[in-house]
Amino acid sequence: MRRARKIKIDHNSEFELDLAPLLAVMVKLVPVLLVSSAFIQVMVIESELPQVVSEAIQRQDEQKTPTNVAMEVDAKDGIRIIITEKGQQKVETVPLKDGAYDLRTLHMKLVEVKKAHPEVFKMELSPDGKVPYDTIVKIMDEARQARDSNTKFPVFDTKQGKNVETNYMFPEIIFANTMEG
């Protein structure tokens, strides 16, 4: 009987992959991406909020005597947090630390305020005329969201009928003294 012919496979042979078409595609893609790349990422501060948070803000607006949280920024004295509840005012002060605003203490105090009043999402900000814009943005950053991802606040979701958690604190910040003379 004739034996089947064995095909010899050379396991040590090498073949070269033709990378030229891949390179051609890349050469075309690189200039396209270069044109549409953003090397400086520019964002905006405003309130594009989750549905649950927006609904909670609406509910706060509908209240007859809502709890009001305001923040006054003074170049000399520091930051004052004013909480108005049922006509009564409570003031907490965050004094300057080494001539600069103590943002860490401010954040901790704002977390406490938010824990005590989880239904409040709006904050009125009244900075002094001398306060630099950069500082205002930093203070707004401290107030908008909890820094620690484990810190959550309850919000009532009307659709699910139960409390859900969010890390938003005071996302809607209004410059209260803009229209003052």
């Binding site: 070269e16 990378l19 030229a20 891949l22 390179l23 890349m26 050469v27 893609l29 690189v30 991406l33 270069l34 549409s36 790349s37 953003a38 090397f39 400086i40 990422q41 520019v42 964002m43 905006v44 501060i45 405003e46 594009e48 900075p127 002094d128 005329g129 001398k130 306060v131 630099p132 814009y133 950069d134 205002i136 943005v137 930093k138 707004m140 950053d141 908008r144 969201q145 410059f175 003294n177 803009t178 229209m179 003379g181």
Partner: protein, 167 residues
């Protein structure tokens, strides 16, 4: 006499040589990944102004179509058009209303023109009164307040502050 033919080495007329492009492909792949990472997905292009340093913020909200105002240490502009001069971090007295020191006359006129213009007034951002404000981080709030006040008076109350990503 037979002529002896000169010796010519055998050359393949149609031969090519193989260029090693593996390392070049590697380089392009790295570039492609880097560029894809910094690809802009925002539908609005914000061109940073000269002499203007934006503050940094943790905000990650993309900009939407709005009237673009820029306030640097030496000028207030709408898009690229200069509206008023800024000197020593304040507006010049001739640009401000005599009775109301927060009212910037040329800015109000320009915004009012946009709000009433036939081509612009039907656009969503003009109807809703949206403004994108690029302001220098060292400017005091008093200067910014004048812009905010005038914009509100002109029917543009929705202010969005442009910031840069990073600490």
């Amino acid at each position: 006499m037979s002529r002896r033919r000169r010796y010519e080495p055998k050359t393949k007329k149609n031969s090519t040589f193989g260029l090693n492009i593996t390392s070049m492909t590697d380089m392009f792949t790295i570039m492609l990944v880097f560029l894809l990472q910094s690809y802009s997905t925002s539908d609005v292009q914000i061109i940073p102004e000269n002499n203007l340093r934006l503050p940094t913020s943790a905000s990650m909200t993309n900009a939407t179509e709005s009237i673009k105002l820029s306030l640097s240490g030496d000028a207030l502009k709408i898009d690229q058009t200069k509206i008023a001069d800024v000197k020593n971090a304040d507006f010049l007295p001739q640009d401000l209303e005599d009775k109301d020191s927060n009212f910037i006359k040329p800015l109000f006129q320009e915004l009012d023109k946009i709000a009433k213009s036939e081509t612009e007034k039907d656009k969503a951002h003009v109807k809703e009164g949206r403004i994108l404000l690029q302001a220098d981080k060292d400017l005091p709030y008093a200067t910014l307040r004048k812009v905010m006040y005038t914009a509100s008076m002109a029917g543009f109350p929705q202010l969005k502050l442009v910031t840069m990503v990073g600490e």
